[in-house]
């Protein structure tokens, strides 16, 4: 036994276990985020249960089952306007009757979240429409709303759906769980479906449809539900703007440090300093961004252009420009280090050959060194962008808001509005998943935003890894 342990194979297995644990942790994290984020788009069955109350009476409850554990069921009952809370725990042994009626319909509403109920009929100007195919009539009217309603087009242009109701298009009469009939105006309905009737393929189509509308729609008026389009848009614009600031400065600094600077103690110190700066917490950059960019530069700009005492401040408050400048500063060390490293990997012979043929230092750099180091520099840039897209801490201080009425880039001159506040996917995760007062309803969208953010950042990283891989292949390492 002692010899066996000395040979070490068991210890090697212990170390292999550490690799396995790390990989499992990552997989579990992604799986949890994906399941909690995407489950809300799946048209789950709507259950109708006869539920015994502690005092002996019984009520009917309707909803989708979100979780089951230890004899308790978490039910999403929807209908927030009528019943207050959206979620409800019930005890399984108290369920007397359990059905999934085919006629049960789910309504996605512009305000107030989902609504469950059985359709009785469709009304226009107070009268029930006499038709056999009530469901078909409802669908036709919903298509009519979406086709004619100019609001849909504007919704993309404006950050938040303003929620103006178009002309009256009738209403739908719905029987809800407690036996009352409720009239929903068709203008207030986004979508309606009958999950208990759907086939698997229909469910799949519906799932992707819902997910897609989460990506391309703005949030609803009441801040609960709807999509994250403005947040995605804000993230992309900010990251692009940041790259514009970042790339020339970072690459130039890297080139200077490796190619032009005298390689003495000063260059070595600068190198260590830059590497250390990459490890300085992002919140410190946020403090500098707020203090220097926003208060000093922005406030000064306001005083200079608009006179002192301008209120509300234009540049003297957090906004797109300051946020992207701060993030550029934050990612600068990463780019400098990557540029430097890919330059240092180039064999001496290439440079010396070029010099021997009479090329100047600039010509050598331009035609020999940079084309070879290009993919490496690009890799560093992509990694920096990925890091910046996931950094939220500085943005908490720098002009990211819960909901912005206007997008930072639109059709009115000067098109790119540097001073505007904007929405951000990462901040949406923080806001909806943690700050929100209605946490039960907003946590699922927060997870959906989280999985979107993770997907974007992972694809950027994969691109960087592929690029790095091809680089290795080329240099024959």
């Amino acid at each position: 036994m002692k010899n066996r342990l000395k040979s070490g194979t068991p210890w090697i297995w212990l170390n292999a276990g550490a690799v396995a644990v790390c990989i499992s942790l990552l997989l579990v994290l992604i799986a949890v985020t994906a399941v909690r984020g995407l489950a809300q788009f799946w048209p789950a069955q709507v259950h109708e249960m006869l539920y015994q109350l502690p005092d002996g009476g019984a009520v009917t409850v309707v909803g989708q089952i979100l979780a089951e554990e230890r004899g308790r069921i978490l039910l999403r009952t929807g209908n927030r306007a009528t019943s207050g809370s959206e979620l409800m725990w019930i005890l399984e042994p108290r369920v007397l009757q359990h059905t999934t009626p085919l006629s049960m319909a789910v309504f996605g509403r512009k305000e107030g979240g989902v609504f469950f109920g059985k359709i009785i009929g469709v009304k226009t100007s107070g009268d029930l429409i006499r038709t056999r195919d009530v469901w078909g009539e409802l669908q036709a009217r919903l298509r009519w709303v979406q086709g004619v309603d100019p609001q849909i087009d504007q919704g993309v242009d404006q950050g938040v759906d303003q929620g103006d109701q178009g002309p009256d298009r009738g209403s739908v009469l719905v029987l809800v769980a407690d036996g009352t009939e409720i009239e929903l105006p068709i203008n207030s309905i986004l979508d309606a479906w009958q999950p208990n009737r759907m086939h698997y393929s229909q469910r799949l189509v519906h799932f992707f449809g819902q997910f897609w509308s989460f990506i391309i729609d703005g949030p609803h008026v009441d801040g609960v539900g709807g999509g994250v389009y403005p947040a995605i848009f804000g993230t992309v614009v900010m990251v692009l703007l940041m790259t514009v600031f970042l790339m020339p400065v970072g690459v130039a600094a890297g080139i200077y440090l490796r190619e032009y600077a005298h390689q003495g103690w000063l260059a070595r110190t600068a190198r260590v300093a830059v590497r250390s700066l990459a490890g300085v917490p992002s919140i410190v950059y946020g403090v500098f961004g707020l203090g220097f960019f926003v208060y000093t530069l922005g406030g000064g700009l306001d005083r200079l252009v608009l006179g002192s005492g301008t209120f509300p401040p234009v540049f003297g408050t957090g906004g797109l420009l300051w946020a992207s400048l701060t993030l550029a500063l934050l990612s600068l060390p990463v780019v400098i280090v990557a540029t430097e490293e890919s330059l240092s990997l180039i064999p001496r012979g290439i440079r010396e050959g070029s010099f021997a043929l009479g090329a100047t230092q600039w010509e050598t750099l331009r035609h020999m060194v940079l084309p070879i180091a290009g993919p490496g520099i690009l890799t560093g840039l992509i990694l920096a962008v990925a890091r910046a897209a996931g950094a939220v801490a500085p943005l908490v201080l720098l002009g990211v808001v819960q909901s912005a009425a206007l997008l930072p880039f639109d059709g009115t001159a000067p098109f790119l509005h540097l001073e505007r506040k904007f929405m951000h996917l990462g901040f949406h995760v923080y806001d909806a998943g943690f700050l929100s007062l209605n946490i039960d309803a907003t946590r699922a969208p927060a997870f959906a935003s989280a999985i979107l953010l993770v997907a974007v950042i992972f694809s950027l990283n994969f691109a960087a890894i592929r690029l790095r891989g091809s680089l290795r292949f080329k240099s024959g390492d």
């Binding site: 644990v21 790390c22 919140i283 953010l453």
Partner: protein
Amino acid sequence: MAFTAFALMLVYLLWVVSPLLLPAGNRLTAEAVLTLRAGIYGTMKAASFSLIFAVPLALMAAIYSACFMAPRVRCVVKPVIEMMAAVPTVVLGLVAVACFAPWLERHLLVVVLMVLLAPAALIGWGWISHRYGDRLNLPVSTSLEWLYALPVVAGIFLVSTWLNEPVQALLFDGDMGQWLITLMGTNAQQRNGLVVGFVLGFATIPVIFSIAEDALHAVPKSLSNGSLALGATPWQTVTKVILPTAGSGLVSAVMIGFGRAVGETMIVLMAVARMPIMDWNPFQGLQTLAAEIALGLGGSEAGGELYRTLVLAALLLFAFTFVTNAVAEVFRERLREKYLAL
């Protein structure tokens, strides 16, 4: 230009806090001192807890990846583990507050059992496969042990989960967390130091892993080949030759990981209840410098008392992480020169 920007940053931070530091200026109020002290204490507490979790895992994974993996496998596994660093910390915070904290409250014993059982099971499995591998036709191929370890780890997790309730009922009156809290005589939070330690550890693992792995992998092959040729086993080669050579690289990896844990904002902001207390109780909340800055700075008046205090906190963070990283970088630079000389 880039360097000017960084210098400007340092100068600006110093300028804002200068009234607090100069002898002639107005001193810090007692309240500000308390905020800073509790913040520093909490920062150290959170970062230390995370390292207790992250350092063993990251270093062991690094040893395996650098010394025992075939190059082709390593090319895949290393980026996958480094991908842990790409997960935005706000997502980690969300998972911590919405999933992990409620889970840990009832499954603390699962974690304890995992820590006890998983190494034992792995070592046992390694011993069996080494001893009887030929006879039973068990997989003994080197460099793929981690794949076979995956089901072992998952199995131990399932066993621990299955044992959770019976063992708690038997030994801890049904609830281990409550039992411990009563034992320590304190009250507790659901989002406590333990939660933040694990989640912060998740964010720190890839940082430590990546740097340590590079240091171990860069040890000249002539050294390890020489050791193997003299008849040392692979494990002896690792412990007696590779680890001592790359030692300073491992130290710098842990330092850089510590720096990262110290400055982490979003995880702490979300995963732990904010409490200005100073103790090492893992079931209590805490507050860190970074989280205080994120919460307080936006609402504070520019140039005011709170503003200056928080900028001072930022300066402390800056100085601490910068110095830690710089020392670690100097270690790495030395190590690189050593390797070149070998």
